[in-house]
Amino acid sequence: MEPRPRSFYVLAAFFTLFLLFLYGPTLTIAVLSFQGPSGGLTFPMKGVSLHWFSDLFEQQAVGDIWGSFSRSSVLGLMVMATTVIVSVMGGLAFRKRFAGSGVIFYLIITSLVIPSILISLGVGLIWSQSGLTVHWSTSGLGAQLTWTLPFGLLIMFAVFNRFDQSYEEAARDLGASPWQTVRFVVLPIIAPSLIGVALFGFTLSYDEFARTLLTSGSQNTLPLEIFGMTTNVTSPVIYALGTLTTIFSFLVIGAFLLVVWLMDRRRKAQGSDAGKGMV
């Protein structure tokens, strides 16, 4: 190995500072969430305790943290499943040009770049003007899909851009129907990327705020609840909640990575190197 150039050390220092910048505030609130029972929202620490974490598990003066957490989890799973299915179908559709594919493509881009508050406002208006009741599982779900689907689709486009089609040809030559080709050849090959799509689908939904704001109805999702807490709550309990949701996010990512790793191992064991797509 050749020695590192000087620029390496400069850049490494820069990278370290960047990580500090990235994690600094999160660590700050993680520390503050261990405030003593009489501590406030800012330093100094008045003792160290788990008081605010245990407080989280008791009924709060206002709001419903655990209800919103379970709603967000369910909604996240719904968005995740829909995103995966619709993205795969969309990705397959876009492998060939069809009439109107350009329009849909630009709609996907629009969906990605449109300010979230517009979706919230527009969906909210449609629902209220047509006399429907907004609910997180209907209007909220749809509004969130406009944010997760572009990510899912762009990943699928990337995957299919790199997809070696000789596998499909082989399947067809062996007499597989189009459905069989997709089911037994294409899907297994792109499976690792689907994990990526699923991860995006879940976490983007789990953290989505603006698009859910006017579309979730009378019951809050977790980000809305957190936002509500920032207006009502004046104790470190909100930091404790922040720390817990961060840990939860880590667990979700960890679980996904584990699945990827397991699949990778199984694949290696089977000796195939197909479909090394990006995740």
Binding site: F18, L22, Y23, G24, P25, T26, T28, I29, L32, T42, F43, V86, M89, G90, A93, F94, K96, R97, F98, A99, S101, G102, I104, F105, L107, I109, L112, V113, I114, P115, S116, I117, L118, L121, G122, Q129, G142, A143, T146, L149, A158, N161, R162, S166, E169, R172, T203, F209, A210, L214, I226, F227, T230, L241, G242, T245, T246, S249, F250, I253
Partner: protein, 330 residues
């Protein structure tokens, strides 16, 4: 010198070509049409539906979602922007009052200027930081495993709550916050710095903090695809590190930069919550203006502002898309 120049140019040509055609990423039996969609030679099949029907069948769920939750809301907003409002309700009409008020108020122009200002400054910082970080990861970290590991370390905060990440700056930056106490105890300053919190500084800091990742990811992605032999060629040809960076790496990374730019610019332009929290409600961008109107039940006026914002954002994106073909770069 002449030779160096010629070799550099050759390297660049190769790079550009590969960048335009996406060649290194395609297998040999695929071709790319000018539109960037991949075509395989189609096989005649007896029961084949036309490719249009197949396409639409597969894309129909997507089309339905987009129609109900993207197109219809936009249509609705455009419609409502011509409606009228009372204290507590909105009524269908066709009037230009909302737009007239919007364009007649100099606050509108100031707020739009503010929005652009935040977008431009945030863009600059996220680009500089994002490029440097991606460059370090892609060219200075030698093993693939470490590259991915460090990359993941960068992306993890992205998966956690934005609101939490935002408000965690407040105890840090306040008059009696960590930053001020540290600076004062080191003797750098005597008086706490007031502009650390509730200022343009804190707004942009929060934006950079939230969105740098959107720059790092696409730039890193394109950099990883740069053929390392190009850089070796440049070095062999006698190019200095800076020359390589300027003439080879940056041109090849341009698509990633553009995609990152699209993300950062649209996220900042559409934001309404960061500005409110970090400026202590003291400054406004377009998103906040819309949200204020929504809060006060002035939906038509919110819709009119939203229409102008949407047009602005789409124009900016259209300009950016002239520099990059997203479909090719995936």
């Amino acid at each position: 010198m002449e030779r160096v120049h010629r070799r550099l140019k050759a390297a660049l040509l190769v790079a550009l070509r590969s960048c335009c055609t996406g060649a290194p990423f395609l297998t040999s039996d695929q071709t790319m049409t000018s539109s960037g969609i991949i075509h395989t030679p189609s096989k005649p099949s007896a029961r084949a539906l036309s490719r249009h029907s197949v396409g639409w069948l597969l894309a129909s769920p997507l089309a339905v979602v987009l129609a109900i939750f993207l197109v219809a809301p936009i249509v609705m907003i455009v419609m409502v922007s011509f409606w009228g409002a009372t204290e507590f309700s909105i009524y269908p009409a066709f009037q230009f009052d909302n737009y007239a008020f919007l364009f007649s108020s100099d606050v509108t122009y100031r707020v739009f200027f503010n929005t652009f200002k935040y977008a431009a400054i945030t863009w600059l910082f996220t680009l500089l930081i994002g490029f440097t970080v991606a460059y370090f990861l892609a060219f200075h970290i030698r093993t693939f495993k470490w590259q991915i590991a460090l990359f993941l370390v960068c992306t993890i905060p992205f998966w956690t709550s934005n609101i939490i990440r935002m408000i965690s700056w407040i105890p840090f930056l306040g008059r009696n916050g960590l930053a001020n106490s540290a600076l004062m105890s080191w003797g750098v300053i005597d008086e706490p710095l007031e502009w650390l919190l509730f200022s343009d500084f804190s707004v942009i800091l929060a934006f950079v903090h939230l969105y740098t990742l959107f720059m790092v990811v696409p730039i890193f992605n394109t950099m990883m695809r740069i053929d390392k032999s190009l850089i070796e060629a440049a070095a062999d040809a006698g190019a200095s590190g800076w020359q390589t960076l300027w003439h080879v790496i940056i041109p090849l990374t341009k698509p990633g930069i553009m995609i990152g730019t699209i993300f950062v610019v649209t996220l900042v332009m559409g934001d309404f919550i960061t500005v409110r929290f970090m400026s202590g409600s003291q400054s406004a961008n377009v998103g906040r203006m819309i949200q204020n109107d929504i809060g006060l039940l002035q939906y038509p006026s919110a819709a009119a502002t939203a229409v102008i914002l949407l047009i602005t954002v789409l124009l900016v994106i259209a300009i950016l898309l002239r520099f990059v073909d997203i479909r090719k770069e995936l």
